[in-house]
């Protein structure tokens, strides 16, 4: 009895040592957390601040040693020149036309395929799914040269070869520098990291309650109707998350874009050439002048994903937490 009273005292008395220790622990934890997060936020935001700070400063501010972060003269010339050298409106159009459309195609088709893997029993499912995962491991460089050659002389099932043989003409169809080079692989579930998307969607659909589909089946829905009208509307967040990942990976991709569309550079590709292309405005020997313009170009290129991120940010962060990736 005595013991219990003592325990109660120690537990509920705010001046007891235990509570004090807890409080010290809590405060030190908070301080540690704030210090850590402030430091790491600085590392993450530093390049962005640096871009903004450089993009708007005038050429005179570069040599002014009293200017570190805040420029004395705000100018838009860097932005304007970077805009022209990037060929921004065209690059943005190609990015949208080639990459973003492909990203949506990829998400649509991988959701479909992922559902097939999640809910249907068929022979060879295990091994096929393992192959789907295996496609992620194979670096793009392994398959890109044959694909490049195939795309520059496009042929499905030797139809073109047969056509050439019969007619004797030497017509060659090239789908390089056309959207087909991006859309076709995406449409057939072989876009950028498609295997990963198939995996994610499979995990998601596997975790959906089976009762939904059973009810739909009893009501006479076929499997496709069930997928499009019952499963997809319930997969809103994971579709959003998947689309964002897909868009971002296509948008930031350099390798495929230079290989398949070197004549129609997308924004990321244009950015990689900017330090040379800016030569139409400033002499290429002056590193400092080039630098602030390249920073302005970086700012222009990250602007679209940044805007997108601010719009969908809340849903996105919730989505990845509840996406069922864990399974």
């Amino acid at each position: 009895m005595q013991n219990i009273k003592e325990m109660k005292n120690t537990l509920f008395n705010p001046h007891s040592k235990l509570v004090a220790a807890r409080r010290v622990q809590h405060i030190s934890m908070t301080v540690f957390r704030i210090a850590l997060f402030v430091g790491l936020s600085y590392v993450i935001l530093y390049p962005l601040l640096y871009m903004v700070s450089n993009a708007f400063r005038s050429d005179a501010d570069i040599l002014d040693s009293s200017v570190i972060w805040v420029p004395k003269h705000y100018v838009f010339t860097n932005i304007k020149q970077a805009f022209v050298s990037l060929d921004y409106s065209n690059s943005l159009w190609y990015t949208f036309y080639y990459n973003i459309v492909a990203a949506f195609l990829q998400v649509a088709i991988t959701a479909f395929v992922g559902y097939g893997f999640a809910r249907f029993e068929f022979r060879g499912r295990g091994i096929l799914f393992a192959i789907a995962l295996f496609t992620i491991i194979v670096p793009a460089q392994t398959t890109i040269i044959p694909m490049f050659i195939n795309f520059s002389n496009f042929d499905v099932l030797w139809i073109m070869k047969l056509y050439r043989l019969i007619t004797g003409s030497d017509t060659v169809i090239s789908i390089l520098n056309t959207p087909a080079a991006f859309w076709l692989p995406a449409m057939f579930g072989m876009g950028i990291r498609s295997g990963l998307f198939i995996y994610i969607f499979r995990q998601f659909f596997r975790n959906m309650p089976k009762e939904l589909e059973e009810a739909a089946m009893i009501d006479g829905c076929g499997p496709y109707y069930t997928f499009f009208h019952i499963m997809l509307p319930n997969a809103g967040t994971i579709l959003l998350t998947g689309s964002i990942f897909s868009m971002v990976w296509y948008y930031n991709d350099y390798y495929l874009n230079t290989m398949f569309a070197d004549k129609h550079p997308t924004l990321t590709v244009s950015l990689s050439h900017l330090s040379m292309a800016i030569g139409e405005f400033v002499s290429l020997s002056d590193q400092q002048l080039i630098k602030i313009r390249v920073q302005a170009g970086c700012l222009l290129v990250i602007l679209p994903p940044l805007i997108l991120y601010f719009i969908v940010q809340r849903k996105f962060t919730q989505g990845i937490e509840r996406s069922g990736i864990v399974g």
């Binding site: 590392v43 993450i44 096929l128 491991i137 194979v138 670096p139 579930g189 072989m190 994903p305 990845i320």
Partner: protein, 295 residues
């Protein structure tokens, strides 16, 4: 009984129709190119109008890659070294950040938005510009913040009598903080998702049994998220090996750009075999320790 069998069959057929687009893609854009690439590696390839001209060359290009090329093996060694250094750092770092972000505190939403930001922006082009310009350039002195800290720190550590290798490793960690924070977005997300899936009942049970936070972390959290640790290790290795900034990959790319298709294909196959081998070893070693709740 018979009726059920037909239903099963019909479901199986429907299943095939669902994965059919992917099967076509697999054949057209994966199996055919990968076999072609292997045949290129074994032959002399030259481009002619309307296709390619292929003459069998045996293992010549594989031999070249190992014995007569001066760059391939050093690049390979370097990328292996980077792998050994970076994978543990990224895994530990992202787990640490995920645990911190999983706790309840004010401003958690804002912090999460900031930590997911690199995911949206990290293209290899942008990263290389940022690395070249804002971290080694000298427009203003603020840019050398990270360099200075690691230099003075290494001095202190050497004075303290630590072995050089340890000091070297530590300074490398500090210097790579930037790349680490910018490359571990996906890993943080995966860990965060795993942490959220740990049932709260386990925490209550641990509290009732009198487990400290430390014990709770090592005895409950780590086993519960161990499947995700495996996934993350695999993802990090693949990401590290296939990224454009990787030395071997950029060498392969530039060789393909010089129209040395056979040599470049041979190198990708060697590289690819190496990745598979490493993944097999790592998965084999780690998956023994992985704990599955449902089994």
């Amino acid at each position: 009984m018979k009726r059920r069998k037909t239903l099963e069959r019909r479901r199986a057929f429907t299943g095939y129709t669902f994965i059919l687009p992917w099967l076509i893609g697999l054949l057209m854009f994966f199996i055919v190119p990968i076999c072609t690439s292997f045949s290129y590696a074994l032959s002399h390839v030259s481009i002619v109008r309307g296709g390619v001209d292929i003459r069998f060359a045996g293992l010549l290009y594989f031999k070249n890659a190992f014995f007569s090329d001066e760059k391939f093996l050093p690049y390979l060694a370097e990328s292996l070294k980077n792998l050994c250094v970076e994978v543990p750092i990224i895994i530990i770092y992202s787990l640490f950040i995920a645990v911190m972000l999983n706790a309840k505190f004010k401003g958690r939403g804002v912090m999460r938005s900031i930590f997911f930001l690199p995911l949206m922006l990290s293209s290899s082009v942008l990263l290389s510009i940022i690395n070249d310009q804002s971290y080694s350039g000298s427009v203003s002195d603020t840019s050398s913040v990270f360099m200075v800290s690691s230099f003075s720190m290494s001095d202190i550590l050497v004075q303290a009598g630590l072995p050089d290798k340890v000091v070297g490793y530590l300074t490398m960690v500090i210097d790579s903080i930037f790349n680490m924070t910018w490359q571990s977005g996906v890993q943080i997300i995966l860990f965060l998702a795993a942490l959220q899936s740990v049932p709260p009942a386990l925490k209550e049970a641990a509290d009732v049994e009198g487990a400290t936070a430390w014990e709770y972390f090592w005895k409950i959290i780590i086993p519960m998220i161990s499947p995700m640790i495996l996934v993350n290790i695999v993802f990090t290795i693949i990401d590290n090996f296939t990224s454009y900034t990787n030395g071997v990959i950029s060498y392969i790319t530039s060789e393909a750009g010089n129209l040395h298709y056979s040599f470049s294909s041979a190198m990708t196959w060697i590289y690819f075999a190496l990745i598979s081998l490493i993944l097999l070893i790592v998965v084999g070693l780690v998956s023994k320790k992985v704990f599955y709740m449902n089994d």
